[in-house]
């Protein structure tokens, strides 16, 4: 079996996902020997249009992005959306909330028409995505797990349980006990509860689990002094595009 060819592509985002791949440190060399990375703009100059697996970072926010993503879709057999921006639109979707035109005007004033910008959408609005590596930034070990799973032909294990599970495994004191709030009970684990590990509330950057108990979560936040507006603002920080199941 030849090594699968992998392209790593960046769209509108902060580049942090690609950086997380570079941050693999001990595993980076194993990764480049397990697969053939043929496109990785953040790290290499070599470039080829021949790849089977596309790891895509970033949201689709311009006409030009749309053209590029469609081309990738026509080449790659396996699409992996990496990071909140690619998976759900992530933080970029706050622009949609604000209104594309209004946002352009606020930032670019009367020059706003010079700017190519469309409604922010996640990758799966344009392509069928095979695997999602959620989070902002994504968990680099999960990216490795997805690649490894593709090599082995198995389904990667992406948890569908709440962050609280990992938080408790890590023996943390719940941040509610520390007087803060947390979206852990409805948010999808897989990040090793890294925010609560740092005594900071979960912001649901990996989205919510399949059957979140949203009502209970709203009550809980309200009990901790949040207004309805605050609650919605928390829910949509990373999930404004795909927030239907938490409305």
């Amino acid at each position: 079996m030849g090594k699968p060819k992998v392209g790593i592509f960046g769209f509108t985002g902060c580049g942090g996902c690609q950086l997380e791949i570079l941050n693999l440190e001990d595993q980076l060399l194993d990764l480049v020997s397990a697969v053939d990375i043929v496109h990785f703009t953040e790290a290499i100059t070599e470039h080829s249009d021949d790849y089977e697996i596309a790891l895509i970072e970033g949201s689709i926010t311009t006409e030009h992005d749309v053209e590029r993503i469609e081309k990738i879709g026509s080449i790659a057999n396996v699409i992996v959306a990496v990071g909140a921006c690619a998976v759900s639109g992530g933080l970029n979707c706050l622009k949609n909330l604000y209104g594309t035109q209004k946002a352009a005007e606020l930032v670019y004033g009367d020059k706003k028409d010079w700017i190519d910008t469309i409604e922010v959408k996640p990758v799966d609005a344009y392509l069928k995505v095979d695997h999602y590596s959620r989070g902002c930034p994504p968990n680099r070990f999960e990216i490795v797990d997805i690649v490894r799973s593709l090599l082995l032909g198995r389904q990667p294990e992406i948890p569908n349980y709440p962050v609280c599970v990992e938080c408790k495994r890590n023996g943390n004191t719940c941040v509610y006990e520390l007087g803060m709030t947390c979206l852990g009970p409805i948010s999808r684990a897989g990040c090793d509860s890294r925010c609560p590990n740092s005594a900071s509330g979960c912001e649901a950057c990996r989205g919510v689990i399949e059957n979140p108990n949203v009502n209970a979560q709203k009550d809980l936040l309200a009990e901790h002094g949040l207004t309805v507006k605050d609650i919605m603002s928390q829910f949509n920080l990373y999930n404004a595009c795909k927030g239907k199941n938490i409305e």
């Binding site: 082995l152 032909g153 198995r154 389904q155």
Partner: protein
């Protein structure tokens, strides 16, 4: 840190599989394959004795472990067979393997198996649905190999489609014998189908054996049990003579991971075969 394995050479714990080789693979249906497996180490192989209804935990290294019942006859001491449906990580990987591949085996497990000793001198009825054939085939083979010790012997076997029927050729051969009665039924018959149509519960009514000297063995999808038991109850078969093989999620097979807990029973250790009498009042069992 003391790493026991380093200190004392190889260390075997209840979680450590023995190496085994897949010696043969054959297609049974579009979704099921049969694997013949031989344990590599001779001593371990000789010590590996199982009862009909027991199962093993099979590891495909790097992909995981899953429980599978042993459908072959306990009398074959050299190797055993597994019949596997490709449904997930381990089973898909198995389906992609070639003879000669290595797997890990733990077991045999399960203290609850089909009580073939007690069945001797009685009628035996096996009711199987779909892949439920796998666990009971071991008993079927075992009884056929010692046929004279039992009275009448029937098999009721139901599948969704004719294509799903496991061990089709074997079934055809058995049909030629007059010491076993075989009845098959499918939900969706094709043009060539000449036997019964519908769920296998329909065929229970035809059984003529008296509850006094009859053992009944049931294995199939969870939904089947409820209806089969209703039928059997209606005909006053004795719960202590009815045996069911249950499926639950298992992560260890040795009573530790607890996923197969039903009340105070563990399917892996106390089962997977239970008498109806044992589980009748066990909530959630059926």
């Amino acid at each position: 840190m003391v790493l026991e394995a380093e200190k004392k050479g190889k260390k075997k714990t209840i979680y450590t599989p023995d190496m085994a080789t897949i010696t043969e693979i054959s297609d049974l249906t579009p979704t099921e394959k049969q694997f013949t497996i031989q344990i590599d180490d001779q001593e371990t192989r000789e010590a590996f004795r199982f009862q009909p209804g027991q199962f093993v935990e099979l590891t495909v290294f790097g992909l995981g472990e899953a429980p599978f019942s042993i459908p072959s006859s306990p009398n074959n001491r050299e190797s055993f067979e597994l019949c596997v449906r490709d449904i997930g990580n381990v089973s898909n990987a198995l389906h992609k393997m070639a003879p000669g591949s290595k797997v890990g085996i733990r077991g045999p497990y399960g203290n609850g198996y089909f009580p073939h000793e007690k069945m001797k001198g009685n009628n035996v009825v096996i009711i199987a649905g779909g892949i439920g054939m796998a666990p009971v085939r071991s008993l079927l083979k075992y009884i056929l190999e010692d046929r004279q010790s039992y009275k009448d012997f029937s098999l009721i076997y139901g599948c969704v489609d004719p294509a799903n029927i496991l061990y089709k050729d074997e079934m055809q051969q058995l049909k030629q014998r007059d010491d076993i009665e075989i009845k098959m039924t499918v939900d969706n018959p094709d043009a060539d189908w000449k036997e019964a149509v519908g769920v296998c519960t329909n065929l229970i009514g035809d059984l003529k054996y008296s509850p006094e000297d009859t053992f009944i063995v049931v294995c199939g999808p969870p939904i089947m049990y409820k209806f089969v038991i209703l039928e059997l109850d209606d005909r006053s078969y004795k719960p202590e003579n009815i045996f069911l093989s249950l499926e639950r999620r298992m992560e260890c097979g040795v009573g530790k991971c607890n996923h197969c807990h039903i009340g105070n029973k563990l399917v892996c250790v106390d089962g997977p075969v239970f008498s109806l009498w044992e589980i009748r009042n066990l909530k959630e069992a059926i």
